[in-house]
C-alpha cells in the first residue's frame, strides 16, 4: 500500500540526502551508525563540499562506510585512520578530510595515531563513535566499556583490577594544544541528533579555519551486543552510559 501525497497540499520537510548512496546498510536494526552517517553526509551536501571531501573508514562495524557515504573514501588499517587522514590532508590541504572511527579503532589500537594527529593539530575532523563495546568482533570489551559492564570478554562485568579503567577520549584530546574543537554528543534522541549534527558541522567548518583538529565523540548504541532492544539501548545511554561520558563541549576555540 503506497501512501499518496498531494504535492499541492504537502511540502517535503525531510528526505534522505543524496550524500548517502542508495543502498541498504549492513548495520543491525537500531544501530546508531546509520544516524551518524546521515548527518555527516547531510553536512557535506549542505556545505557543498562533496567534490573536495575525503573520508576514512576504520576497521570495525563501519568498515564499509565507503559503500554508504557518497564521497571518496579510503579504508584504513585498524587504528590508523588518523595517520591516513594526515597523509591525505597534508597533500590536499584545502580538501575536507574526516575520519570515522569506533572506540576500539580510535581509543585502543589507534590511540597513538589519534593523539599525535590531535597533537600536531591536523586540520581534519575526527568522528569518534563510542558505543562502549567491540561490535564487529562480537561484543568484546572495549577501552570505553564502563566498569561493571558485561561483555563477551568481561562476562562478570568490567573489573578495574583485571581489566583496567574506561578511557575518556574527549577529555584527553581537549588537553592537547593541537585540537581546536572537542565535543561529546549522543544520537539516542531526536534533540540530541540535532545537536550532534551541529557539532559535526562545526567540526567540518573548523577545517577551513586551519586552526587545528576537530574531534567529535558520538555516544552511540550497540543494542545487539548490549543484548537489549534498540529502545532499551537508547534508554541505557541516558540512564547509565552518559554518567561515564558526560555530554558537552570540552573545547571550542573556533570562534564559530
Amino acid at each position: 500500500m503506497k501512501t499518496q501525497i498531494d504535492p499541492n497540499k504537502y511540502e517535503k520537510v525531510f528526505e534522505k540526502t543524496d550524500g548517502l548512496k542508495n543502498v541498504k546498510t549492513h548495520y543491525c536494526p537500531g544501530c546508531g551508525h546509520g544516524v551518524v552517517h546521515r548527518i555527516t553526509m547531510e553536512i557535506v551536501k549542505e556545505l557543498d563540499i562533496q567534490h573536495k571531501t575525503i573520508g576514512i573508514a576504520p576497521v570495525g562495524c563501519s568498515v564499509f562506510a565507503y559503500y554508504y557515504m557518497n564521497v571518496d573514501m579510503q579504508q584504513a588499517a585498524h587504528g590508523r585512520a588518523c595517520a591516513v587522514a594526515t597523509g591525505i590532508k597534508r597533500m590536499l590541504p584545502d580538501h575536507y578530510v574526516f575520519t570515522y572511527q569506533g572506540d576500539g579503532d580510535l581509543a585502543a589500537i589507534g590511540t597513538a595515531e589519534t593523539i599525535h594527529a590531535c597533537s600536531r593539530g591536523e586540520n581534519i575532523t575526527i568522528i569518534f563513535i563510542n558505543n562502549a563495546i567491540y561490535g564487529m568482533t562480537g561484543g568484546q570489551m572495549a577501552p570505553t566499556t564502563i566498569l561493571g559492564q558485561k561483555s563477551s570478554t568481561s562476562p562478570e562485568g568490567r573489573n578495574p583490577q583485571r581489566d583496567g579503567m574506561p578511557i575518556n577520549m574527549s577529555e584527553i584530546v581537549a588537553l592537547l594544544p593541537g585540537t581546536v574543537y572537542v565535543e561529546r554528543v549522543a544520537v539516542n534522541k531526536p534533540g540530541r541528533v540535532r545537536k550532534a549534527k551541529k557539532a559535526i558541522l562545526k567540526g567540518f567548518k573548523a577545517q577551513a579555519l586551519k586552526k587545528g583538529t576537530s574531534f567529535i565523540e558520538v555516544v552511540s548504541n550497540c543494542n545487539t551486543n548490549w543484548k537489549m532492544t534498540p529502545v532499551e539501548a537508547n534508554k541505557w545511554i541516558d540512564d547509565v552510559l552518559l554518567k561515564q561520558y558526560p555530554l558537552g563541549v570540552f573545547k571550542d576555540e573556533t570562534g564559530l
Binding site: I5, Y10, K24, G30, H33, P190
Partner: protein, 77 residues
C-alpha cells in the same frame, strides 16, 4: 503555537523494524505493521492521522527510510 499537520512516507522495504521511530514519536502516530517486508521485518507504518511533521522519527531512524511531509499553510488574504 498551533500544531502543524504532517504525514510520513516510510520506505517499508528498507525498514529494519527497530522501532526507534515509534518510541520517539510524540503523538503515537507510528506503530509496527502486522506485515513483514522481504527481509522479514515488521516495518513501521502510520497508525493514525496525528502526525505533526516534527521529524523526530526521521532524526532517529538509522536507515533513513522516512520522508516527512508537512501540510502547507492555507494562505489567508
Amino acid at each position: 503555537m498551533a500544531k502543524q499537520k504532517g504525514m510520513v512516507v516510510i520506505d517499508t522495504e528498507n525498514c529494519k523494524g527497530c522501532g526507534l521511530c515509534i518510541a520517539n514519536c510524540p503523538t503515537n502516530t507510528l506503530g509496527f505493521s502486522e506485515n513483514f517486508n522481504a527481509n522479514g521485518y515488521h516495518y513501521s507504518e502510520m497508525k493514525q492521522d496525528t502526525c505533526i511533521a516534527c521529524q523526530s522519527c526521521a532524526l532517529v531512524c538509522p536507515d533513513v527510510v522516512i520522508t516527512v511531509y508537512r501540510l502547507k499553510k492555507e494562505k489567508t488574504v
